[in-house]
């Protein structure tokens, strides 16, 4: 079963996406902690696309799709624009250093990478897609 939602790039829509994902997962017999983790992972990627890739331009849209196949959850977040984010450059941050310098951002993808089994980015033409996978077994 596949579910899809389209939102404009406004950070107020983060709540809309979280409700969409949690409503879908509510019927999957998962623990509250796991549901929260999956909602959080999607929220972090969507927030990055809205705030960093699209500078909160409400004329831009994101599509979020959920699919369950072979005991694996797949979340697909598609941006209508090519993203400047390069997952190849990702390095796990040093949180103690973040505390020392008072850094406010930079732990979102750390959460995503620690929660999900696989995180994949691809850019085709004008579209950037992030796919998140989590096995249920």
């Amino acid at each position: 079963m596949k579910q899809v939602i389209r939102i404009s790039c406004n950070r107020r829509n983060l709540k809309v996406v979280r409700d969409f994902v949690s409503d879908y997962l509510a019927g999957q017999h998962l623990s509250e902690v796991l549901v929260n983790q999956l909602v959080l992972a999607v929220d972090e990627v969507v927030a990055n696309f809205i705030i960093h890739a699209n500078a909160e331009d409400e004329r831009q849209f994101l599509d979020v799709r959920i699919d369950v196949r072979d005991h694996e959850f797949g979340f697909e977040i598609e941006d209508g624009a090519p993203s400047s984010y390069s997952p190849g450059s990702y390095q796990e941050p040093d949180l103690r250093e973040f505390v020392r310098v008072g850094k406010k951002g930079g732990v979102g993808m750390m959460l995503v990478n620690r929660i999900m089994d696989r995180v994949e980015y691809s850019t085709t033409g004008e579209h950037t897609v992030c796919r998140l996978y989590k096995s249920l077994t």
Partner: protein
């Protein structure tokens, strides 16, 4: 996100109600940035009604922690729901910040 404040001579308690994300975390950042907060001894964060926290919310606490420590202001979280505490644990923030089960324990820190 709704933030309710309670102040005593030595302690500021902030009760967080709702979801702390990239949209609502600005409100919390404003509260924790007030200069008078550094004149208190302890900032207690009541998380009983905090239903969700994202990296933006965590980032607000991370960004103020050193300033609080330098000013000898203790930052203590209590009444945290399991799913919210789990987010702190994923990053190991539970070892960098003080999280206790109850208000009584938070007051005793």
């Amino acid at each position: 996100m709704k933030i309710t404040q309670h102040t005593t001579d030595t302690t500021l308690t902030l009760a967080l109600n709702g979801e702390l994300d990239a949209s609502s975390s600005v409100l919390l950042d404003t509260e924790l940035s007030k200069p008078e907060i550094l004149r208190t001894q302890k900032v207690l964060i009541d998380c009983q009604q905090l239903n969700y926290i994202s990296s933006a919310g965590l980032g607000v606490f991370i960004s103020h922690l050193q300033t609080f420590q330098d000013a000898n202001v203790k930052l203590v979280f209590f009444n945290m729901q399991e799913k919210v505490r789990n987010v702190f644990e994923i990053l190991g923030l539970d070892s960098l910040m003080t999280i206790v089960p109850s208000e009584a324990e938070a007051t005793a820190v």
